[in-house]
Symmetry: D2
Subunit: 307 residues, 4 copies
């Protein structure tokens, strides 16, 4: 197995990849962007790619949501949750917050620590970095100007950087969700607590179109655990929805909802069913059990045999 | 073929039966009640029974609605519409409305002519008859007391009764719908303009149960052409619904709605799909066409092949 | 107070009227039909009328449902439940079931005892009577032919008739619901367990029209305790619905549902809010409490004050 | 009037602000972030702030969506659309794409031109800038390393930068929507083509909660023109929705939907009604017209007067 991931090495994404059983012993390729990690999979240069999809503070990762929604089909086979905590690393010689004039980090990390920074180092200006790791490494480079960086504890430790403050994130308990993506192939068997991911283009611009989609779920008691709207790029007011539902396509109620959605919107994309990283086995009432579906189909077939 | 029908001979029900191609040359058995006509079919004493199910003025015929909703299963294979118009027949010697002291007819006929009678013969008392035909025949019987009867033009003509007024019905244009009932067997092929009849017990006494049923229809754009509530006999507040929908079980949208209903209510009864006596081919949008259903099923199957 | 009721004296309807506090001491007028009882109220000849509206076995009483749905407006101010049980009274000289050749009763009573009669006196022919009381009184009349009658225990006792069998009804526990009707006026104050009655013409013949009505109730968690379809008289497929809902117009959720229905169907009729004869105080979630309505209105008003 | 806007000067946001009648002659304060622009308004340091809220390619502007959803209440009084087109500006001495080794721009601009860059300057590395204007100005600074910048045509022209390629955006026709925000106060009068913006916290984590919200709109035929999900910061799976609807709170159907939503979710925020920058007067059927609401309210009131 060969794995791509959103690099550089030492970021939270590599930490997520290392949670995949066996991945620590496999070849791991740091990609420069989500897009290029997924392209490696599409082109067969990697067997799977680990990319972030959702942060509990910042929301969906647009690059990932968009990249898997379009282009050649891909499949999600696993998800991994990684708790997110940041440290404030500083350049050699800095000993107090008051000395910091310029700080650098990735925009998403900045968004998660903005309030802390505005409160504690209000005089510091912000310089965006292409990743938290690159911002941190800049502290070792005499040609860069920033004297502080917000980064993962891991990078700070590995590069032996000086840490002035730990846990500078505004919301304790932040978590990022990562997904492991392959080319379409075998769907992982149901684990009992599963998730399915769909892309739903809103093909018609009319009142109630979103509600008609949702009715396909509620009519089978299929619960949504995530819904994100994204622009299609075709102009303001044109969206697709990226949706996670509780349940596995091997379950009748999920496959019935999928069939219903396909009738409303044949451009629908199914991105996979896979074990949920957290959650409990959903309660399914008798009207939506597998056997209720099987029996109702058998009943209709027995009637149709009289045609 | 042997036909039973709600007798006696000469009523509107026999007129309905005579519209069935070939029925004029077959054995026709006048039954004393809807129940006994249907029992003849259940017991194999008749191949089919013609019974009234709905009148455009008086509403559903309770005896028929109840008799086909319970007991051994039956099937509706055809429907027939008969325009209903009544005449006022009188006993020999009566020449004006003022002379009428007592009038007899069947309760349903009385209900359809009540306003006319209260206006035109306010002094006459009403004596119920077990059928319009028997009320009319009573005019020839010296032992009965009534001197007028409301009946079908046919009986008046066949028995040579004196007709004082024609078209005494309160609502011109009344129509009664009759159904031809057999034991369950081959379902008539779709004609393009078809109807399906269902019995839906409201198995749960909670808000929204009826709405959940209706949603199964609207979710597939299946139109209801009739809905009647009837008590189940288990106490006030316990109903079943007798429902006609536009379309044939051979159509995907109808069979999908049936499967959905069966999940909600496995006690559901399917009473048949058959050509509608009137109406136009329903408009079916692309999301509910047969091919949309077939394609969505094929799409889900192709995904499930990856399991 | 002067009361009209569906006569003759001694029927279940008079029994219902006698349950109204004080009615036993008032003038009671037996009307020959539901229509004439209601007309007495409309014309001011009576202050109120007691009429049957629903039987737990036979279903809605069409004459009443239709009479209060059209014509000059009326109002329901109370409902009364009367348990229904029938006796088989016979003519002097009859001592066993085998001797009975002809039996008479009202069609509705016959419908409720038909199965018993077909099983126990299969050879007897049925002659309809205009009321259970008149059929019973016929047993004392040498000019009538029937030798048995199905009637109320009350009439049998009052007229000293010979009772051969008691409780000949097919379903034990049958109940008839009666309503007390006045001209529109003061609405009875809420009792905590109330009912409201509506007439909903289905003004548009299209899929989903009934569902749109029901949504107005479910959107406010207003439960339906009865729904009956009736033909409007304008032809097959044209219905109005007679509906009872749990709750009183003084409650916000009920009046909000009424306002919503009026938007969909301005021809809607409100027939009154009155104490329910049975049932429990409905559970109302916080989103549908009176205070939720009042607060939401106040909130919107505060926003609109900025216009 | 004193206006704040997301700076620095010369970006698309200032262009949006200059479209506001009279703003060109007023004091304009460039804020370093969306948050600080809005804080100036909250603190009374500015009368209004112009900030971006949605890009037709990149989707919602998270910083703005989050900043107006929480904290002290604000109000949207206008929206402005600005077409977005980018140029590739280069450092003195660069004459061909092949020479470019490092390119800088703001992350959002980069997202909109990424495909062009990956295709046309695949060897160039990307350095994020804190704004398109600052990236462009870096080309004049000998201490920065990048030799190309993606920026607005305006900045390139004003600063006399060398433009190598115009319209480097991946999707022609991109538009950014900006909103003008004030403290809560007078709501702009209806223009006929209006919009209202709401924040809907999903207070309950259960299937159908989103659908119940949407039903409040569809029940009054209020169309949604935008819906965005955002994390609340309370953990994965907790969202609020930022929603734009067609129509003005002065319209009955809009205020009725607001009242209905407030019952379901009293934490709802109303962010204003204001003229839409584009669009047509919505079609309103008779059941949802102002007069239908007024009449239904009057009807219910007339009934309640009988209490």
């Amino acid at each position: 197995m060969k794995y791509a991931y959103l690099g550089p090495a030492g970021t939270f994404t590599e930490a997520a990849l290392l949670q995949v059983p066996g991945a620590g012993d496999c070849e791991r390729i740091a990609a420069s962007s989500v897009n290029s990690a997924l392209e490696m999979v599409r082109l067969g240069q990697a067997d799977a790619a680990m990319v972030p999809i959702e942060n509990s503070v910042e929301g969906g990762v647009s690059a990932t949501l968009d990249a898997i929604a379009a282009g050649e089909s891909l499949q999600i086979v696993a998800e991994v949750l990684v708790p997110i905590s940041f440290v404030l690393a500083v350049r050699e010689g800095i000993t107090s917050l008051e000395q910091i004039r310029e700080i650098s980090t990735h925009g998403h990390a900045w968004a998660q620590c903005r309030h802390w920074a505005e409160t504690n180092i209000p005089a510091a200006s912000f310089t965006p970095a292409s990743s938290t790791a690159s911002g941190a490494l800049g502290l070792l480079d005499p040609e860069t100007h920033h004297d502080a960086a917000i980064c993962s504890p891991l990078v700070a430790k590995e590069k032996n950087l000086k840490v002035l403050v730990r846990e500078v994130e505004d919301h304790a308990g932040a978590v990022t969700r990562f997904i492991l993506v392959t080319r379409p192939g075998a769907i992982p068997a149901p684990s009992g607590v599963d998730k399915s991911t769909l892309i739903l283009p809103l093909s018609e611009d009319r009142p109630g179109a979103l509600m008609e989609f949702l009715e396909q779920f509620t009519a089978r008691a299929v619960n949504l655990s995530r819904i994100e709207s994204r622009p299609t790029g075709a102009g303001l007011g044109h969206y697709f929805f990226s949706v996670d539902v509780e349940g596995h396509i091997a379950e009748e109620r999920v496959s019935a909802a999928l069939a219903g959605l396909h009738r409303l919107c044949p451009e629908l994309r199914f991105l996979g069913s896979y074990p949920a990283a957290q959650g409990t086995r959903p309660f399914i009432d008798t009207h939506n059990s597998d056997s209720a579906f099987v029996e109702s189909r058998a009943w209709v077939q027995s009637l149709k045999s009289r045609l």
